[in-house]
Symmetry: C2
Subunit: 581 residues, 2 copies
Amino acid sequence: MSRFLRVNMTDLTTRFEDVPEKYQHLGGRGLTSAITCAEVPPTCHPLGPNNKVTFAAGIVSGTAAPTAGRLSVGGKSPLTETIKEANAGGVAATKLARLGIKAIIVEGQPEEKGKFWVLKVDRNGAQLQQASDEWLGKGLYQTYPLLFSEFGKRAGIIGIGVAGEKLMANAGVCVNDPENRPARYAGRGGLGAVMGSKRLKALILDDEGGSAVPIANKEVFDAGRKKVADALREHDITKPGGTLNTYGTSALINVINEAGALPTHNFRDGRFSGADRISGETLRETIQKRGGVGLSGHRCSPGCIIECSNVYPNADGTELVSVQEYESVWSLGANCGIDDLDVIGELIHLCNDYGLDTIEAGVTIGVAMDAGLASFGDGQRAIELMHEIGRGTPLGHVLGNGAAVTAKVFGVVRCPVVKGQGMPAYEPRAIKGIGVTYATSTMGADHTAGYTIAPEILGVSGKVDQFIVEKADMARSWQHTTAFLDSTGHCLFIAFAIQDIASGFEGMVEECNGVLGTNWTVDDVGRIGGEIMAMEREFNEGAGFTRAHDRVPEFMTYEKLPPHEVVFDVSDEELDRVHST
Amino acid sequence: MSRFLRVNMTDLTTRFEDVPEKYQHLGGRGLTSAITCAEVPPTCHPLGPNNKVTFAAGIVSGTAAPTAGRLSVGGKSPLTETIKEANAGGVAATKLARLGIKAIIVEGQPEEKGKFWVLKVDRNGAQLQQASDEWLGKGLYQTYPLLFSEFGKRAGIIGIGVAGEKLMANAGVCVNDPENRPARYAGRGGLGAVMGSKRLKALILDDEGGSAVPIANKEVFDAGRKKVADALREHDITKPGGTLNTYGTSALINVINEAGALPTHNFRDGRFSGADRISGETLRETIQKRGGVGLSGHRCSPGCIIECSNVYPNADGTELVSVQEYESVWSLGANCGIDDLDVIGELIHLCNDYGLDTIEAGVTIGVAMDAGLASFGDGQRAIELMHEIGRGTPLGHVLGNGAAVTAKVFGVVRCPVVKGQGMPAYEPRAIKGIGVTYATSTMGADHTAGYTIAPEILGVSGKVDQFIVEKADMARSWQHTTAFLDSTGHCLFIAFAIQDIASGFEGMVEECNGVLGTNWTVDDVGRIGGEIMAMEREFNEGAGFTRAHDRVPEFMTYEKLPPHEVVFDVSDEELDRVHST
């Protein structure tokens, strides 16, 4: 019987609790959002004592379900001030599930400043211990090895970098990958700063002697996971040797650039002249050419059969960074006018090292370039700006708080954010549906909230023209399905396969039924996802959000985007339709 | 027949327009808010091309009505994102009225950056001319003399300092006082940055050859102004030799300190050990002792019969600054733990010079001290921080954007703002009614929006206990009356007299009737004020504000304030009652 672990940072106590009946069928995002809604006052200060940060594995995490190693982290976001769930790959979700812990809820705040703590969890229980000064104030590429030598190489570590220690709103939550790199991030929304505000440097999960995740109906579960695996192995995007496995997510660079929707120079253009130099094809070729540790088709978490990650080498074959993926390469590359994968790799490395979300970091640097702090394309200056964050200078504090704060501080009107969160790598002026998702998601601009790029660009579940403005129904449907998927523990990338292959979709539901003993049908997916979003939206309303916040930035409504010379012309009424039903 | 002057900064044109019928009976705040509501999209970016900044004299400004020289400046605020009206003394309102201009509406935005413009208005018309480089990038104590030598010493100048040029959200709008100091500010809410975003450095008003303000019914008007003047001359607070005339507004330092409500050390305490050294009594004594240019009972605008301003000398008798007033002395003094009037005077001088609101500047430095950027009480470091703003360093940009941004950047939870605007000099935990005004005003934390200190501390219109939490009716009533008063052009300080002396209140209404030819009664004051607030509130709702924003900062609900050891315990229901009727 899995339990909750409640950690009180005010009095530094931990206790295990039975899982209340109402939470029994929840996992991942559904669970973190339900706990946040039930226990966090929507108007609380995100960095104050009344916020909580919750960690939960998905419903099928830790089982034999394929590509299901996502860890959800939830709370009130210091970046967006909305409810927030961000999820990461890495090894932690599996270990949490095998420790029989459905969620870890961290609450309160020590009065004393300066000291940090780590939470050690193993089969014998949970203890807080004071963090060594050695583990603080430095890059995670230094800190994580120290933690592994202290707690053993089997540990799953959920930690924060200096950005989180310094309470920066772009601080992500880091999870080690299968080779123990500090490389997988629940990045978006600054939940690392919430950990920092609670003076919790890391959670250490040791599942040695842990037990298998209980499965209510093994037959149903096994049938389901086989259907999901079959779909993943069949679909061109997800199969072995398929698009993601071969080129990684950076396969999108050329595709989105061709569509005129690759945001370039802080969202001034939809095409980047240097796209070819940072594309997935170039990435793969570079990795292959350089040899050494170079690896594409790398796995970010145990049990993944897509394997879209990579390890990118320096020219001499030594390791530079894992992972060069589409969002990071775009944000720190095209968006900043930088077309050198080595420079981009260094910038990603610095994000991992300091504990930052790469999307927000790149959007922030783009805004800083617009403010005149650097020239577009100046990679060395971009690296210097990242070091400002690491050092915690005043400028670094600005940049570490993300794009909206940076724009505010320097008076930049062209700030590509929704609800304070930087936009990902798809221009809403050129791909209308993703703009609808950005505007209406419960968590600010977030492509993963409802990835309409799948139909609008990739033709998944039927091709829909990117310029059509009637996208409310599509955006709603994708958001609801995603809210369910984010609760299962599956990686969002299974969506490509299961949205095209009906048996895969059924398989996902059957896996859940197998684990939980429920009798959900495929029709329940949208209903349950819709209920999760409705709950999240109610939190946001309590926090003061209205439809006036469900909008893209004003400049996108009057500034035309080349090459298609389009503005964002989805009507307010269409945007409001997403949540009207 | 007075007209509107519309200034289009996109194509650099000006044109005079007839005043539409619906605006005929409006002035000051009522007029700037009506124009903002009608012409500015509530969701627009405050620094983008779709915001507008409007300047309007009050209904009776420019007439013989006493103490009626207020100039209203309105638009969407970059500090609060709400609608905003801030008003200033100085000479501009009178000149605007005598030029027959009911409002100047500045709209659009030049595409070209770097260049600034000045708008010259005289009886012959209005022209835009490019600002000389000499007038830019330097302190207003240098720039204003250059402008007077260019445009003549009779000019009324409405200008911005470097803070406005640099688009900082704490940039105020400066008006010269009767001796042409850059010393009177429509400070709150950052409307100077809106001017800056339109690249408008200054408005130059030359009323030579201007005509008297038309008065519809001179008899009614004269009767009214006599009643107002009599009330002002009779009331202990406003009369010649009365409290304000003798000690200035700083008379409140000892009073509010005694009440345990003088926010000290970034709102950690309600009493300041150094209060006596910065009190109105000490201020007066210092001015008298030092001689030279020293002057208390100074007039901030023509026609004022209260004369609460002062000119504060250095120890050698040379002029340091005008004006040391309560809010500034508190914010840059007690709130920062600084108890030296010379240091405070220097800080006020720097605010005037760089073009900053003193309240926001002091609250910001208090937050910065909480963040560890300076020690409480370290005046020299506070002066250095002000210079960072003037130089436009990254840290200066942070501080120049006010307390909320500074708190966000440095992760300070204890941030005393409502809707992004720093709280003035009265602790809401210790004086509940002013907290209700802060929370529910249409413009963020603003004591002038509904000055319940008058009854709660000073006993004006009947003494009400400061700790009673049922204050919604009082706060609403004061806010409605104030919205009317802010439309007349009168200084808010006439409220002390006219709230106690009924004939004075009648006189204010009769003055308006005399000018406008209306037949308002005293009962219309609350109604008209309520209509103004309802309109402003509708704008804010369109901008995304809800009751969740009508709250004091969360920390004040759980952190006890010495010496009374009180939290802010007015219920949400009571706060929501302010706008429920």
